[in-house]
Symmetry: C2
Subunit: 271 residues, 2 copies
C-alpha cells in the first residue's frame, strides 16, 4: 500500500483516504465523493478493527459483505481498496497502542472503555501505511472525528482531517452499518434519535439555552419510545465533548442495538 | 522538516535519522557515521524530551550545550539538524501518547514509570516528521532500542531500526551524557558497571550458565563499590527483556547519578 501511495505522490498526485469498516452505505459514498473532489487519488480502507470493540460488543456479528462493498465501490471511481487482514495488522507480539486523553475520555470513551484507543491505534497504522494528504470521517461519529483530529495533530501526521455531514434516511435516521441489526419495530423506534435532535434544535432556535432544559427535550422524546434506552444525552462543546456547548450527542439502545447520533443545535436540523 | 525530507526522497535519496537529546559524544558520532555510510542524507534530531523524564528525574539539569553540539556536528557531514522546541512538540492541549507493552514493562520500564511512553511518543513524532528510511539507536540503551523496534513494527512505520555498538572509555565505562554528572570519586566507581559485565562475560565463557550465579558475579563486583547502589542487575532475553537469556543489563546509582549498561554475555567483552 505504501509503495503505491509513494509512487502516486512521486507523480505529484494527492491521496485521499476514506477509512471504513465495510458494510458500506450512502454515508461512506458521500465521503468517497468528497475525497474524489479534493484529491487525485482515492484510497478506501476496509478493516473491521477488532481492538476497537469491547468484550460483549458486536465484533463477531458486525456486517461483512465483500460483494456488496465491491459492487458499491465499482461505481464511484476508487483507485485502491486497502483491505489488510487482522493477522497482518495485529501479528503475534504486537503490543503498541495509541491513546488520546481529554477528548477521548467522556461519552463514547466512558461508555466503551478501550474503544478510542483501538480507533487511535488503527487510524495511526492506516496513516503510516497510506500516508494520505487528506482523510475523511463522518460527522455521525463526531467524537471519533475529534479524537482523530487530536491524534493527527499530536503525532505530527501530515494529513488534513475532513469531516463529512451525516447522511440520513428520509425519516431522519442517521445511516449506520448497525441499522441492519434493527427489526421493523426497532427501525420505527430508531427514528427517535433524530426526532429528539430535531426537537432540541427547534427549542434552541426558540431561545432555549439552559442545558438541563435542552437535555429534557432530548430525553423526553427518547423516553417516549418503549424500545429505547438512553445511554447518554448531553449538550457539549464540539471540541472537548464536555458541557457547556451546542452539540447534542446521543447514545441510545434500541433493543440490543446501540445507536449514536448528534447535531449542532445552533444549526437548523436538515430535512 | 518533512518538506525537506520529502524533497530528498523525491530526488531518490535515502534518509537516515539519528535521534539524540544533544550533549553529543563519540557514541552519537559513531551512530552518525553509520547513518552516513548507509544513507544519502543524514538528519540528527536534538530534543531533550520532557515527557520521558519522571518527576524528580534530571530533565532540568540534563546537559544542554548547543555550541558544543554544533562544533561536533560541523565535522561529520550531517545534512540537517532537527531541533524542535518543546512548545512545538507538546503544545497546549496535546494529549496523545504511544504506549508499548511487554518489552517496555520490566527493568527500565518498571524503574522509570512513563519513561518508555515518553520515548515511544517522541520517536513516533520524529518518525512522522522526518519519514526516515533508517533510524539509529545505541546499544547502551538496549531496551529502548527494543521498544522502538516493536513500536516501528506495530505502527507500520516504514523505517529500519539500526543499533550501534556501545562506545566505551578506555577503562570500559560506557559513554553517556550523564557521565558529566560524576565527580572524580564517582567517575572511578562508575567503572564497576563495565567491570561487572566483563566478569560475568568471563564466567559465561568459562561455562557458567546459571542465572543466579551470573547475577551473583554482577552484584558482587558492583557491591564492592561503596558509592554504587544496584537498582537492577539481571540476565535477560534481548527481545523480551525477561529471563532467561544472555543479555546482562544493569542500572546502578553512583552517588546521585543513575547509569545503565548491558552486554550480551555470549560475546567477548570488548577491550
Amino acid at each position: 500500500m505504501l509503495d503505491a501511495s509513494r509512487r502516486w505522490r512521486a507523480q505529484g498526485h494527492t491521496v485521499g483516504l476514506v477509512p471504513t469498516m465495510g458494510a458500506l452505505h450512502a454515508g461512506h459514498l458521500s465521503l468517497i465523493e468528497a475525497a474524489r473532489a479534493e484529491n487525485d487519488v482515492v484510497v478506501v480502507s476496509i478493516f473491521v478493527n477488532p481492538i476497537q470493540f469491547g468484550p460483549g460488543e458486536d465484533f463477531a456479528r458486525y456486517p461483512r459483505d465483500r460483494a456488496h462493498d465491491e459492487g458499491l465501490l465499482s461505481g464511484v471511481g476508487v483507485d485502491a481498496v486497502y483491505r489488510p487482514r487482522v493477522e497482518a495488522m495485529y501479528p503475534p507480539g504486537a503490543s503498541t497502542r495509541v491513546r488520546v486523553s481529554g477528548v477521548a475520555d467522556p461519552l463514547e470513551g466512558a461508555a466503551r472503555p478501550g474503544h478510542f484507543e483501538g480507533v487511535a491505534t488503527v487510524v495511526s497504522k492506516l496513516f503510516t501505511a497510506v500516508e494520505p494528504d487528506r482523510a475523511y470521517f463522518g460527522q455521525k461519529d463526531a467524537q471519533q472525528a475529534a479524537v482523530v483530529r487530536r491524534l493527527a495533530r499530536d503525532l505530527d501526521f501530515p494529513v488534513e482531517i475532513r469531516v463529512g455531514v451525516t447522511v440520513r434516511e428520509p425519516d431522519g435516521l442517521a445511516l449506520s452499518s448497525r441499522n441492519a441489526y434493527l427489526d421493523p419495530d426497532e427501525r420505527r423506534s430508531a427514528v427517535s434519535l433524530s426526532a429528539a435532535l430535531r426537537l432540541a434544535s427547534a427549542a434552541y432556535a426558540a431561545g432555549e439555552r439552559r442545558p438541563e432544559q435542552l437535555r429534557k427535550v432530548l430525553c423526553g422524546r427518547l423516553e417516549a419510545e418503549s424500545l429505547a434506552r438512553v445511554e447518554y444525552a448531553q449538550v457539549v462543546d464540539p471540541e472537548t465533548f464536555t458541557p457547556p456547548g451546542t452539540l447534542a450527542v446521543l447514545a441510545v439502545r434500541i433493543g440490543k442495538t446501540r445507536l449514536i447520533d448528534n447535531h449542532d443545535l445552533s444549526k437548523v436540523f436538515p430535512g
